[in-house]
C-alpha cells in the first residue's frame, strides 16, 4: 500500500502552487504543515484527482489518480465543503455512499455505523441546514470514511470541533492510520505532533522538510524555526 507522487507540479497562470513534489507515503498518518498559501490544499486536491497537474503523476498501488479504481480507494475531507440544504444528514451520507459505489444495503449499514460513530445518529433525520458548523464537520468526516478508504486525505479535519471532539477524532485518525495511508493537513500543530509518524512541511509549493517525527520533540518550535517570523499562522 503506497502513494507515489512523482515530480508533481501545478501552475496557475504565473503562480506555481506546487513545484516538483515527489513523495512516497506508506501506511500511517503523515502530517502536512505549512503557512497559508504554501500549496498544501492544492497538493491534496491534486492527490484527489480534483485538479489536473501541470506536470507529474500521482498513483496509489499502481492506480492512476484519474482512474475510477483510484477514486474507489480514496476518502477525502476538503477544508471547506458544501452540503445540500434540503438533504437530511442521512440523505447526504446515502448520496455520498451511492457516489462511492456502495450498494444500498451496504450504504444503510455503513451510514448507521458512521452516524453513531460521529455522534449524529439522533439528528440524522434533520436537514443539514439546521446543523451547527461542528456537526457539519463531523458529517464531513463520516462521508470521507464511507468506503473504508485505503487512502485518506484530510484537510483540516478537526477545524470547528470542540476540544473533547477534537481529541476523539484525533484518536480515530490515528486508528485509521494503522491500515491506511492518511495524509493530514492542519494548522493545529499539536494534532500532528500526537498522531503523525511522519511530518511534511511545505513552503512556496515545495516540500521543505520530510521526516519521521518523535512525539517527544517540540514540533511547533521546529516548525517556527523553518519559517522564522512568517510561520506564526501555522
Amino acid at each position: 500500500m503506497e502513494l507515489v507522487i512523482d515530480r508533481l507540479s501545478k501552475q496557475f497562470q504565473a503562480k506555481i502552487a506546487v513545484d516538483r513534489v515527489s513523495l512516497r507515503l506508506g501506511p500511517g498518518v503523515t502530517g502536512l504543515l505549512g503557512p497559508n498559501g504554501a500549496g498544501k490544499t492544492t497538493l491534496m486536491r491534486l492527490i484527489c484527482g480534483i485538479l489536473k497537474p501541470t506536470a507529474g503523476t500521482v498513483a496509489f498501488d499502481g492506480m492512476d489518480a484519474g482512474s475510477e479504481k483510484y477514486r474507489a480507494a480514496l476518502g477525502y475531507l476538503p477544508q471547506d465543503f458544501g452540503y445540500y440544504p434540503d438533504f437530511t444528514g442521512r440523505d447526504f451520507l446515502m448520496y455520498m455512499a451511492a457516489l462511492k459505489g456502495l450498494s444500498k444495503a451496504e450504504a444503510r449499514r455503513r451510514c448507521g455505523q458512521l452516524l453513531e460513530m460521529v455522534g449524529l445518529a439522533d439528528v440524522q433525520k434533520k436537514k443539514v441546514k439546521t446543523w451547527s458548523g461542528g456537526m457539519r464537520q463531523r458529517l464531513g468526516i463520516a462521508q470521507a470514511l464511507l468506503n473504508d478508504p485505503k487512502l485518506l486525505i484530510l484537510d483540516e479535519p478537526t477545524a470547528g470541533l470542540d476540544p473533547r471532539e477534537r481529541v476523539r477524532f484525533r484518536e480515530l485518525i490515528a486508528a485509521l492510520g494503522r491500515d491506511s495511508v492518511v495524509l493530514l493537513s492542519t494548522h493545529i500543530v499539536s494534532d500532528v505532533e500526537h498522531i503523525a509518524g511522519r511530518v511534511l512541511i511545505m513552503g512556496d509549493g515545495q516540500i521543505v522538510h520530510d521526516g519521521a517525527w518523535d512525539a517527544r520533540e517540540d514540533l511547533e518550535a521546529f516548525y517556527l524555526a523553518q519559517f522564522g517570523e512568517e510561520g506564526h499562522d501555522a
Binding site: 484527489c48 485538479l51 475510477e68 476538503p78 445540500y84 440523505d91 457516489l99 459505489g101
Partner: protein, 422 residues
C-alpha cells in the same frame, strides 16, 4: 448498474427540492390552463340602436356549449356543392360591396349578410352563422374572396384546390420529385372530404401547443440553469468529483434527471392545457380533417385530434432539447444566471424571428424545425427532407432533436470533465 438509479433519484430530489421549481411550474401551468380557458370566458354585448345601452346576449361558455350540439347538423356531411350552397343560402348574399381590385380599379363583390341590429342577435342564430361561415371560409381560402357565389360547385372547389397546392409547392421552391410525392399522398385524401360540426377543443389544443413549447423553455431555464453551477457555489463539486462514480455515472444521472424535470414540467403544462381544451371547450371532433380546421391545402390525410397528439408529443420532445440546451449552457458559462440569460435570449430570438426568408431554402427549413420555432405552420409545412425516402417536418423534427440532445450531452460532458472543482 453503477448505482445509476440511486444517483438519478438523488439528483431528482435535489432538483425538486428547490421551491423555485415548484413556483415556476405552478405559475406556468396556471398560464397553460388559462390560455384555452379565455376562449370561453366573457360575454357578447350588443348595443341597443335606440338607447345605446349594451345588452348581454350570451356568455361565450354558453355559446360554446350550444355549438357542441352542432345545431346546423353539418357533422359528417361531405364538403360538396350542396354544403357550399346551403351555407350561402343560410347566410344570404345580401350585400354588395365595392372594393379595390388588384389592378387598382374597383370591383364589386357580394358578401354574406351580417346582423343589422339587436333583433338579429341570438345565441342560436350566431352559432349557426359561425358554422356556415366556416364552410364559406374554407371555399374562400381556395377559390379566393369574391368567387364564392351561387355558381361555385364542389368539383370546381377541388380542381382549384389541386391548382393552389401545386402553386404553393412551386412558390416554396420544391422539386418535381417532391411535388410528385405529395401528389401521391393527396390521392389518399377522401374527396369530397367529410365536414365536422364541432372541433374547437382539438383545434385550440393544436394552436396552443406552441405556447406550451415557449412556457416549457422558460421552465427549463428556471429549473435547470443552476444544476451544475450550484454544485460549484455550494462547494460540493470537490466531494463528488473525487468519488468513485462522481464523473461519468454522476454526469449521466444528473443529465437524465435534468431532462426528466424538463419533460415532466412540460407534461404537467400540456396536461393542464389539454384538460382545459377538452374539458372547457369540448372533446368532440377528434377526427376532423386538418384541411377543414387548419390548412385546406395540406396534401395528406390527417385529423386535428391526431395532429394535437403529435404536437403535444413534439412539445415533450422539444422540452428535452430545451433542458439539454440549458444544461449545456450552464456548463459553458459556469453560472446559473448567465445560463438563464442565454436561454431567455434564445427564446426571444425565436419569438422575434419565427421564419427565415424562403430563398434560404435549407437554412430556412432547418430554422423552422428548431424546437423553439416549430408551431402550427411548421407542423403542416410541405417542405420535405430527403433521408432515405422523403420525411415530412413532423417526422424530421424528432430525429433532428434527438441528434441535438446527443450533441449537447456530448458537448456538455466534454466541458464538464475539463472543468476543475473549486
Amino acid at each position: 448498474m453503477r448505482n445509476f438509479g440511486t444517483l438519478y433519484g438523488f439528483e431528482l430530489k435535489k432538483l425538486l427540492g428547490r421551491k423555485m421549481v415548484w413556483i415556476a411550474l405552478a405559475v406556468l401551468t396556471a398560464v397553460s390552463v388559462l390560455l384555452p380557458a379565455t376562449e370561453v370566458m366573457g360575454s357578447l354585448y350588443v348595443s341597443e340602436d335606440a338607447t345605446g345601452q349594451e345588452t348581454r346576449v350570451y356568455t361565450h361558455y354558453a355559446r360554446n356549449q350550444y355549438a357542441r350540439t352542432d345545431p346546423a347538423g353539418l357533422d359528417g356531411r361531405p364538403y360538396d356543392t350542396a354544403l357550399i350552397q346551403e351555407a350561402l343560402a343560410a347566410l344570404g348574399l345580401a350585400q354588395v360591396m365595392t372594393v379595390p381590385a388588384p389592378d387598382g380599379a374597383e370591383m364589386t363583390i357580394q358578401t354574406v349578410r351580417t346582423p343589422a341590429g339587436t333583433a338579429d342577435w341570438s345565441m342560436e342564430s350566431d352559432v349557426m352563422r359561425r358554422q356556415y361561415w366556416q364552410v364559406l371560409d374554407t371555399a374562400e381560402a381556395v377559390v379566393g374572396a369574391g368567387n364564392v357565389d351561387e355558381t361555385l360547385t364542389g368539383d370546381e372547389f377541388y380542381d382549384a384546390l389541386a391548382r393552389v397546392r401545386t402553386q404553393k409547392y412551386a412558390a416554396l421552391g420544391m422539386t418535381a420529385a417532391e411535388m410528385a410525392w405529395w401528389d401521391a399522398r393527396s390521392r389518399e385524401l377522401e374527396t369530397p372530404f367529410p365536414w365536422t360540426g364541432f372541433a374547437e377543443g382539438w383545434h385550440t389544443a393544436v394552436r396552443t401547443a406552441y405556447t406550451v413549447n415557449v412556457l416549457a423553455m422558460l421552465f427549463a431555464a428556471i429549473a435547470l440553469a443552476g444544476l451544475w453551477p450550484q454544485e460549484r457555489q455550494r462547494r460540493t463539486d470537490a466531494l463528488i468529483g473525487c468519488a468513485r462514480y462522481g464523473k461519468a455515472p454522476l454526469y449521466a444521472a444528473k443529465f437524465l434527471a435534468g431532462l426528466t424535470v424538463s419533460v415532466g414540467g412540460a407534461a404537467v403544462m400540456l396536461a393542464g392545457m389539454l384538460g382545459a381544451c377538452l374539458g372547457l371547450i369540448g372533446p368532440e371532433g377528434f377526427g376532423a380533417a386538418v384541411q377543414q380546421t387548419l390548412t385546406v391545402t395540406y396534401g395528406a390525410p390527417l385529423s386535428i385530434g391526431k395532429l394535437a397528439l403529435i404536437a403535444y408529443g413534439l412539445c415533450l420532445a422539444a422540452s428535452a432539447v430545451h433542458g439539454a440546451f440549458v444544461m449545456a449552457v450552464s456548463l459553458v458559462t459556469r453560472s446559473g444566471a448567465a445560463a438563464m440569460a442565454v436561454s431567455f435570449g434564445a427564446l426571444l430570438l425565436f419569438i422575434l424571428v419565427p421564419a427565415l426568408p424562403s430563398r434560404w431554402y435549407a437554412l430556412g427549413m432547418l430554422w423552422s424545425l428548431l424546437p423553439g420555432i416549430l408551431g402550427v405552420a411548421g407542423y403542416l409545412d410541405p417542405r420535405l427532407v430527403r433521408l432515405g425516402g422523403y420525411l415530412t417536418s413532423l417526422q424530421t423534427a424528432p430525429l433532428l432533436w434527438l441528434a441535438m440532445i446527443l450533441v449537447l450531452a456530448a458537448l456538455a460532458w466534454a466541458l464538464h470533465r475539463r472543468v476543475p472543482a473549486r
